[in-house]
């Protein structure tokens, strides 16, 4: 059995009194491409933001390599954060810095390397995502797909063991989105990185996912988990079928 690198235990997320996710449990294994699915507003991004320690769980805990990320503080927290890379829905590149500076920032922060070697590392990461030649551009000069790729390069800057991607292909055309999927698969193969990806792009899911969990707005929990193809063909839960087959109630009935 592979190792579990992330444990989500009896986890509940809430904004004030408004409970978004209630009492869920799951694990992510080392090196897998794990996808969180669900309709709009079911708490996918909320779950991801809890997993990277931006929010504290209302109940339960999330362990990243055995450490509770919500309870860690100071150096302990930074040790955990150094090991994870995050790419946000909007890319979240720093607008006042060039693409290269965006990638060098985390490296400068945590290593004592010379400027020359830091630049080289950053250029290599940008090369990996196909952005060689755009190093000196400002984020505002990039297209949507390039921003997402630059964000991925920044997330990989410190060679983390885990990458968290929030809707990496949202708002991209099918070709760019397929390229991004290929990139993820390639990185997973060559670097052995564990991916946790939030998405609702069906094509991406079939392409990338080793295992998925599906959240549901009404039950506030996980309604299905497993391999995407298996869920598509075997799940008897109506919402899961609707999701994978892009159908409405009526089509299912008929």
């Amino acid at each position: 059995m592979e190792d579990k690198v992330i444990n989500v235990i009896d986890f509940t997320a809430a904004y004030g009194d408004n409970i978004i996710i209630e009492n869920i449990n799951f694990d992510v294994y080392n090196g897998e491409k794990f996808v969180i699915l669900g309709g709009s507003g079911c708490g996918k991004s909320t779950l991801l933001k809890h997993m990277i320690g931006l929010y504290r769980p209302a109940k339960g805990s999330i362990l990243i390599e055995g450490e509770d990320i919500a309870k860690a503080e100071g150096k302990e927290r930074i040790e955990i954060l150094k090991n994870i890379g995050v790419s946000y829905q909007s890319g979240a590149l720093f607008g006042s810095m060039t693409v290269l500076e965006n990638v060098t920032l985390p490296i400068e922060q945590y290593t004592d390397l010379s400027k020359e070697s830091i630049d080289l590392i950053a250029r290599m990461k940008l090369n990996l995502v196909g952005l060689t030649g755009s190093e000196e551009k400002m984020p505002s000069e990039l297209s949507g797909g390039m921003i997402k790729r630059a964000a991925l390069a920044r997330a990989m800057a410190l060679d983390p063991d885990m990458l968290f991607l929030d809707e990496p292909s949202a708002g991209l055309d099918p070709i760019t989105s397929a390229e991004l999927d290929q990139l993820i698969i390639q990185l997973s193969k060559s670097l052995g990185v564990t991916f946790v990806i939030v998405t609702h792009e069906l094509n991406s899911i079939y392409n990338i996912a080793d295992r998925v969990i599906m959240l549901d707005k009404d039950t506030k929990g996980i309604i299905a988990s497993g391999e995407p193809e298996y869920l598509r063909d075997n799940s008897e839960i109506p919402i899961v079928q609707k999701f994978f087959k892009r159908q409405t109630d009526e089509q299912l009935g008929g």
Partner: protein
């Protein structure tokens, strides 16, 4: 059905009471967003007047119906069910029926009103409000602490300061503001000198306008006017910058890189403000006095008289006491601006709200601090 047909057939309503307990509403014509209103009230009135046990809506003669028409059907159903009667729709075309089936009337029931005893509890409301105010104050106290720690760390490790950011901000904050600072202070100096010259003429004390102006300017007007203008320019800009970063998840990204936004984003701005605001204030004082000079010229005094008057009235300590205050104003402008930006909510108006908040809170805090300094200086005899 094309658009012309739809417009041509206005809906009509026929209310038939079949026996004492049944009301049949026959609807004819087009029910869309433009025409449904024509029979909306009539149908509700018919329902209200007859209060039938059974309501049948006969839609056989409806030639077109969109979601607005469905809203009428749902409304009738809800009202009928509320008064305890039964409800039936007949004769809808397949197309309309499909649309009708999309909406479950149960989803549109008015939510129950909250318990008035509970929501009107004044003591509880007062408690909640004071709790919120306290939480707000706490945020400012914590933030002040973080900025102070950040500044101390910056002084101890000056190589860790992002100097490029400091210089870029200094240029925007200081150099680019020089013209407006000069203009505003020149005009304020001119107006104050002129307004005080008029009553002083009655006592033959016009020459003392210079004394009044320089004391007012060095102690209060120069620092305050300059800080207000800079607050409007840069405090709002800081809030907008950080607010946009918040909305774009850039602050989250910093957080997950383990970078604290205070030393990374706030401290460079605070340092730039600390350097530039006193310098701007010196220029503000200068241009305020030039404004006074213009008035003094027009009253027939010479340049030498004006300068003599200034040098006898003003002291170096007076100038310094004013400049010392600007250090606090500088921290308020940068700190409040950045904090407002970091606390921006999500959504399109968030950044604008943050900028407004930064300017308003900044001005209020500066006035309060200025008042405190007035008291302290008075007690110290400065």
């Amino acid at each position: 059905m094309n658009k012309a047909d739809k417009i041509s057939s206005l809906p009509s309503l026929e209310a038939l009471t079949e026996d004492n307990n049944t009301l049949r509403l026959k609807i004819k014509g087009t029910l869309d967003a433009y025409t449904t209103g024509k029979i909306w009230n009539d149908s509700l009135v018919a329902l209200k007047n007859t209060k039938p046990k059974e309501l049948i809506v006969d839609g056989a003669a409806i030639d077109y119906c969109d979601a607005s028409g469905i809203a009428l059907l749902v409304n009738l159903q809800l009202r009928q069910e509320k008064s305890g009667g039964s409800y039936k729709v007949e004769g809808l075309s397949d197309e309309t029926n499909k649309l009708y089936k999309l909406f479950d009337p149960a989803d549109f029931k008015e939510p129950g009103k909250p318990d008035p005893l509970y929501s009107d509890n004044k003591i509880e409301a007062a408690g909640k409000l004071s709790y919120q105010v306290w939480e707000e104050i706490k945020i400012y106290i914590v933030f002040t602490g973080r900025v102070t720690v950040g500044l101390i760390n910056a002084i101890l490790n000056p190589h860790k300061i992002r100097w490029r950011e400091v210089f870029v901000t200094s240029e925007k904050f200081g150099a680019n503001a020089l013209f407006i600072i000069a203009l505003v202070n020149f005009l304020v100096g001119l107006v104050i000198a002129f307004q005080s010259a008029v009553p002083m003429k009655a006592y033959g004390a016009q020459v003392f306008v210079a004394d009044l102006l320089v004391i007012a300017y060095f102690k209060e007007l120069g620092p305050l006017m300059t800080a207000f203008v800079v607050n409007g320019r840069s405090g709002s800009a800081f809030a907008a910058e950080l607010g946009t970063m918040k909305v774009n998840e850039e602050l989250d990204a910093l957080d997950t890189m383990g970078l604290d936004p205070v030393p990374f984003l706030v401290i460079p701005k605070v340092i730039a403000s600390l350097i530039m605001l006193p310098i701007l204030t010196v220029f503000g004082n200068l241009f305020g006095l030039i404004g006074g000079l213009v008035v003094m010229f027009s009253l027939g005094f010479t340049f030498t008289t004006y300068i003599n008057q200034l040098t006898t009235a003003a002291t170096f300590g007076m100038l310094l006491s004013g400049l010392f205050k600007t250090l606090f104003f500088a921290v308020i402008i940068a700190g409040v601006g950045c904090l407002a930006g970091m606390r921006a909510s999500k959504g399109p108006s968030a950044v604008g709200d943050a900028a407004t908040k930064a300017v308003v809170i900044g001005i209020v805090l500066m006035i309060v601090v200025d008042g405190l300094f007035g008291v302290i200086y008075y007690i110290l005899g400065i």
